[in-house]
């Protein structure tokens, strides 16, 4: 197993290299540059800026410069937020986004998993219809609708929670953004758990457990473990997406996470920030895919990597 993990980590290196390369040239294809403002800068200033940031060199040379810097762990200065390096921006924003994301993910697994399991055990009952109905709602109502409604209800009308802001991650400030992030995930996890549980409860090995007169708790435990496989494979990419921040939620709740860097970086042609975001997201995706594969092997003994 350890050698498998090691091999997987090794194979991530060429993958990352390809991603970085493609991203580097793609963003350069976009018209304009980081210093093109609405009111154009003087030619001399522009020239100086380009020279300072080495944007006057041939593209392929810039690529080499960037690659060698990244290998040393230097993601360069942000072109737009000029007082910060990209590393600094992530060092500040990533903990915010990861806190929100991991809380939302935990909530999704616990609440979604429980609801899905209950719905499956009481198939075609009132509870089942309620769960599937709420699941459909959670999936279809977009977060930019849910978030303002929460703000109006809990922030203004009931005035029990702060409307927005980070406030050093105080629990009251976390409640609404985490909920908004978690709702669609709860819906998906509940639906997947329900479907997988129903299939499992009908399987022959569950029939065996029933025939042996085992308590329902044992039967649920066995069915849940079997049902976990498809849910886990969904949660990998979902975790990567949640932990790297959400533009909408962070903007609406005024949170200093990294989600907005995707959009801001791209709009401002902040080349280094875009590249930094790409690398961070790619690392998360690769990492969580590995985690999923490891979890798979832990849950299902038929899967062996050697």
């Amino acid at each position: 197993m350890l050698s498998y993990i090691f091999r997987r980590l090794l194979s991530a290196i060429p993958t990352l290299f390809v991603i970085v390369t493609i991203a580097f040239f793609l963003i350069r294809l976009a018209p304009g540059g980081p210093f093109d403002l609405e009111r154009p800068l003087e030619a001399k200033v522009m020239e100086n800026l380009n020279r300072i940031y080495q944007l006057d060199r041939p593209l392929i040379e810039q690529y080499w410069l960037y690659l060698s810097a990244v290998l040393k762990g230097d993601f360069g200065p942000s072109f737009y937020l000029r007082d910060f390096s990209v590393a600094e921006l992530f060092a500040r924003g990533l903990p915010v986004s990861m806190t929100l994301g991991s809380l939302a993910l935990t909530l999704a697994v616990l609440v979604g998993g429980t609801l899905g399991a209950i719905a499956a055990l009481r198939q075609n009952s009132g509870i089942d219809y309620l769960v599937t109905g709420l699941g459909a709602l959670g999936l279809t109502i977009p977060n930019f609708v849910v978030a303002p409604i929460f703000q109006i209800v809990f922030g203004l009308a009931l005035a029990v929670l702060p409307i927005a802001g980070w406030n050093n991650g105080s629990p009251a400030n976390l409640v609404m953004p985490v909920l908004v992030l978690a709702l669609p995930q709860i819906a998906v996890v509940a639906r997947m758990t329900r479907a997988a549980m129903i299939e499992n409860l009908r399987s022959n090995h569950i029939r065996t457990l029933r025939s042996l007169g085992l308590p329902s708790l044992t039967i649920v435990k066995h069915a849940l473990r079997g049902a976990a496989l498809p849910v886990v494979s969904y949660l990998g990419p979902a975790a990567a997406a949640l932990l790297t921040g959400s533009v909408v939620v962070e903007t609406i709740f005024g949170l200093p996470g990294v989600g907005r860097y995707f959009v801001e970086g791209a709009l401002n042609r902040d080349y280094t920030l875009v590249m930094g975001t790409v690398v961070v997201v790619a690392v998360f995706v690769l990492l969580f895919n590995l985690v999923v594969d490891i979890l798979y092997a832990i849950i299902d003994p038929r899967i062996r990597y050697d």
């Binding site: 007169g213 085992l214 044992t218 079997g226 038929r302």
Partner: protein, 542 residues
């Protein structure tokens, strides 16, 4: 007479379905006395399994039972699952038809074996493990102390069924219900599992309820027998009496359903249709990173065979012996090496296009009459599809006429050719599959377990049909089957295959009356469970 351990009275089982209520079991009475073996026989759909499922409270969620099932005087029908758990797994236990999927693939068998012990027996983990090892020993799993930490996928079907039996016996039950426990297993494994069951019964003194379609098992093991048809018990009594003098025509029909007769020999001058020499099929199981061939599996290892017009070559062997692969290889449906000659043409150098005009002469009928017909085409379209390729010039009307003709030939009502496959029974579908082959007037038909998925009585009809078609058209058959009774009834020559090789070959008489190899003898002995019983029954009846 003492009170029965299990008394079923006026039991009804119904299922709510899309087309209304299905009345699967219609008021039946069954008694199981202490220590006796009771068989419930019937064909698929007779309600024999559902009867016992309802005893165990295992009906599907759309099904329910009415009437009375008493275990030692205590009513079980209508009990909540929790109350029923007092009996299930301790007093009443069950093993199932599907040993491959009846164990949880995610848990070690030791952990699964411990469940009934800790739940009902009140053992702690350490003692449950010790008892689990004893149980594995009891069901004759070799090296139980190591095997207890195996996962189900690391065991064969037979071993898994042994583990199921061990679980069922964990708490010394009064009644063990065995629902077709050996149907999914190879014949030789079947015999061993049955032997184990009867031995355990002698040692532990429990009652066994055998649900089966196999009269051989009934004759050999059951003290009393209930014959079920369409949800009703049509006949019951001592097994010997039922076999000696069946009262109900349905019972008589079940007993008679064994394929009988022998193949008439082929005239000496019959032309050679297909000749294969030294056929080899290999599968590379795993290739290493550098493309080095890893382990190679020889599925078919140097097999030769020849079939003349009107002749049948039977290929028998257990699953995994390579018999189906051989069938596909001689039709060039499977890459293989060696030589295959059809009439006077060597098939090996031909590519797909080169084979195409010859395909009409070389047809194949599969085991699974449900999976091998496209559900979206009418049966008529299915049957005539080959004509579109091989006789593209004929008109739609002519094709339809030929379809009607082909339907008649396989004894199906030609008016049914507009129906879809799901509107036919298993036996009728197999007739459609045969019609699809016959419409092209083939010279050779490879029949790959064509009767294995069918009930015995339907099997017999299909065997008769195949016989008639062979006689009428001088067809050459390669008949692949694990069912020795059918093979004996149809074949001139029989090849016994094991791990890709032919271990013995000869005429039907040579193979059955004077087998040389132990493996052949095992196969026959296992099948003789059925055979002996039939012979005895016939001698009793006459």
């Amino acid at each position: 007479m003492a009170q029965p351990v299990l008394a079923v009275r006026n039991l009804h089982v119904r299922f709510r379905t899309g087309d209304g209520t299905l009345h699967a079991v219609k008021g039946i009475d069954i008694d199981v006395n202490a220590g006796e073996t009771v068989a419930i026989v019937g064909e698929s759909g007779s309600g024999k399994s559902q009867t016992m499922m309802s005893v165990m409270g295992l009906l599907a969620s759309n099904g329910w039972a009415e009437g009375s099932v008493k275990y030692r005087g205590e009513e079980l029908v209508g009990l909540s699952p929790n109350k029923l758990n007092h009996y299930r797994g301790s007093k009443l236990t069950m093993i199932f038809q599907e040993p491959m999927t009846s164990l949880d693939p995610l848990y070690k068998i030791g952990d699964q074996l411990a469940l009934p012990l800790t739940t009902h027996g009140g053992l702690n983990k350490a003692r449950a493990r010790k008892r689990a090892i004893e149980l594995l020993e009891l069901v004759r799993i070799p090296d139980p102390e190591r095997r207890i930490d195996s996962y189900p996928h690391e065991m064969s079907g037979g071993q898994r069924q042994r583990v199921m039996i061990a679980m069922a016996l964990a708490n010394n039950p009064d009644v063990l219900i065995a629902d077709e426990p050996t149907t999914a297993l190879d014949v030789t494994v079947q015999a061993k599992i049955l032997e184990l069951l009867s031995d355990l019964q002698k040692r532990l003194g429990m009652s066994i309820v055998f649900i089966t379609h196999d009269l051989g098992i009934v004759r050999r093991f059951a003290d009393r027998t209930y014959v079920m048809k369409r949800g009703e018990v049509v006949e019951s009594g001592k097994t010997g009496d039922i076999f000696a003098a069946p009262k109900h025509p349905y019972t008589q029909m079940l007993i008679d359903a064994e394929p009988t007769g022998r193949k008439e020999p082929v005239p000496a001058g019959a032309p050679m249709v297909l000749e294969a020499k030294d056929v080899q099929v290999t599968f590379g199981l795993k290739k290493s990173f550098f493309g080095k061939a890893g382990h190679v599996l020889r599925a078919v290892d140097g097999v030769s065979l020849s079939v003349r017009a009107g002749e049948t070559v039977g290929v028998v062997g257990e699953s995994g012996s390579g018999k189906s692969t051989l069938g596909r290889a001689i039709l060039r449906l499977q890459p293989a090496s060696g030589m295959v000659r059809f009439e006077d043409r060597n098939l090996m150098p031909l590519d797909r296009g080169g084979m195409r005009p010859l395909r009409r002469h070389l047809q194949l009928v599969f085991q699974d009459p449900f999976g091998s017909l496209s559900p979206r085409m009418t049966s008529g379209e299915i049957v005539t599809e080959g004509l579109l390729v091989h006789e593209p010039s004929i008109s739609r009307k002519e094709r339809d006429r030929r379809a009607a003709q082909a339907f008649e030939e396989v004894r199906l009502d030609p008016a049914w050719r507009n129906r879809f496959p799901h509107e036919f029974s298993g036996g009728q579908r197999q007739r459609i599959a045969i019609a699809r082959a016959m419409i092209l007037h083939p010279k050779l038909v490879v029949l790959d377990e064509p009767t294995s998925a069918l009930d015995r009585s339907v099997q017999k009809e299909i065997v008769e049909l195949l016989r008639e078609l062979q006689k009428a058209h001088g067809l050459a058959y390669v008949f692949i089957s694990h069912d020795l009774a059918v093979v004996r009834a149809l074949s001139d020559e029989i090849m016994v295959m094991k791990t890709g090789k032919v271990v013995e070959r000869g005429t039907a008489e040579q193979i059955f009356d004077r087998p040389k190899e132990d493996y052949t003898r095992d196969l026959i002995a296992a099948a003789f469970l059925t055979e002996n019983a039939k012979a005895e029954a016939r001698s009793l009846a006459s």
